[in-house]
């Protein structure tokens, strides 16, 4: 066993695994929704409601949403730390990076709670 990182976000392996697992979950959820759209002729509001009232679908949807948020968070962090560096734009990069990181963090949290609200209110 190799030495432990200080936190999970300090572990490249954890982030790498999280991004791939979350990507796979979102992919399977996409296939699930696509399957419904292709196989059912008249997809009405009542039909969607009956699908999403199923406990398993709710759990799957929740997993997909959390996965999407996780996937987006890791990806955005990666892009920010790749392009906004002190080397490229000087010391102000630290402030810009933190601001963008917090902005996207809050935005993704907002999306998460909004999605949960939609799911619970069905």
């Amino acid at each position: 066993m190799i030495g432990s990182p200080k936190s999970l976000s300090d572990s490249g392996s954890f982030l790498w695994i999280a991004q791939r697992v979350s990507g796979l979950l979102v992919f399977f959820y996409f296939l699930f929704i696509l399957g419904i759209l292709v196989s059912v002729q008249d997809v009405t509001y009542e039909y969607w409601k009956s699908i999403f009232n199923n406990r398993l679908v709710q759990v799957f949807s929740l997993l997909a949403i959390v996965s999407l948020i996780t996937h987006a968070w890791i990806g955005i962090q990666c892009v920010i730390s790749d392009y906004i560096t002190e080397r490229l734009i000087g010391p102000k990069a630290i402030l810009i990076r933190r601001t963008l990181s917090n902005f996207f963090g809050l935005l993704l949290m907002f999306y998460l709670f909004w999605s949960l609200l939609i799911l619970w209110n069905l």
């Binding site: 066993m1 190799i2 572990s11 490249g12 392996s13 954890f14 982030l15 790498w16 695994i17 790749d82």
Partner: protein
């Protein structure tokens, strides 16, 4: 008649870098780019570039030739000239000292980080640490790196984070020691590489493979390191 366009910059005299055009007659010969540079230096002795062995072994004369990193001494004009024009620039992404000479401190700092030497705590045998032929074969394609920096300076991840991402050259060397059965510091080496930047900032675009003048495959080596790190984390 060729036009050879060369990047010029003398920080003590020039305000900004510029490209200088030289007319050049190769007399129909398929010269190497280094031969062209040597002939230009006769015309203009102020032109500065690194060179040593002139046969692709020392790795001194890595430059950007018509947009692609390579060794000037083993790149023939027939491969490098486009529309009767040859463009020679320093390797990208590292500070220019003068003309085609770059400051490679950051590149060597990353190389130093991966501890490029055998680590084995056990008492050394009387003669040497032996290896089976199969184990020795695992090092083929890894040990041949000449540290010319063509790969690392072709890598956008290294341009963006040269202080955090080890770069393809350093990681190829890191795997050379991870794959060596005589080395016993695998855990220590992997611990040093497990942060989100050192290895995982490789996005696998394979620029390194495309430009390596020795035909090596750093992306493959990085993939092996990543697998080792992920297996250890699970």
């Amino acid at each position: 008649m060729l036009t050879v366009s060369v990047y010029r910059y003398n920080p003590e005299a020039d305000e900004a870098p510029y490209m200088q055009d030289f007319p050049f007659d190769s007399e129909g010969k398929d010269l190497m780019v280094l031969d062209v540079l040597e002939k230009l230096k006769v015309i203009d002795p102020s032109l500065v570039f690194r060179r040593s062995c002139r046969e692709g072994v020392c790795g001194s004369d890595g430059v950007n030739i018509s947009g692609k990193n390579g060794l000037a001494c083993i790149t023939p004009l027939s491969e490098a000239v486009r529309d009767d024009k040859l463009v020679i620039r320093p390797l990208p992404g590292l500070p220019v000292v003068r003309d085609l000479v770059i400051d490679m401190s950051q590149f060597y700092a990353q190389y130093e980080k991966i501890k490029p030497y055998m680590m084995n705590e056990s008492a050394p045998p009387e003669k040497e640490r032996l290896q089976s032929q199969e184990d020795r074969a695992k090092l083929d394609g890894l040990y041949e790196c000449i540290l010319c920096a063509c790969c690392s300076t072709a890598c956008p991840s290294f341009w963006w984070n040269p202080d955090k991402f080890i770069g393809p050259s350093g990681l190829l060397q890191a795997y050379r020691f991870l794959a060596d059965t005589r080395d016993t510091a695998t855990e220590e080496r992997l611990t040093d590489l497990q942060d989100p930047f050192s290895v995982f900032r490789c996005h696998g675009i394979m620029n390194c493979v495309q430009v390596c003048p020795k035909g090596l495959n750093p992306t493959k080596a990085i993939g092996h390191i990543r697998t080792m790190l992920v297996k250890n984390a699970l």
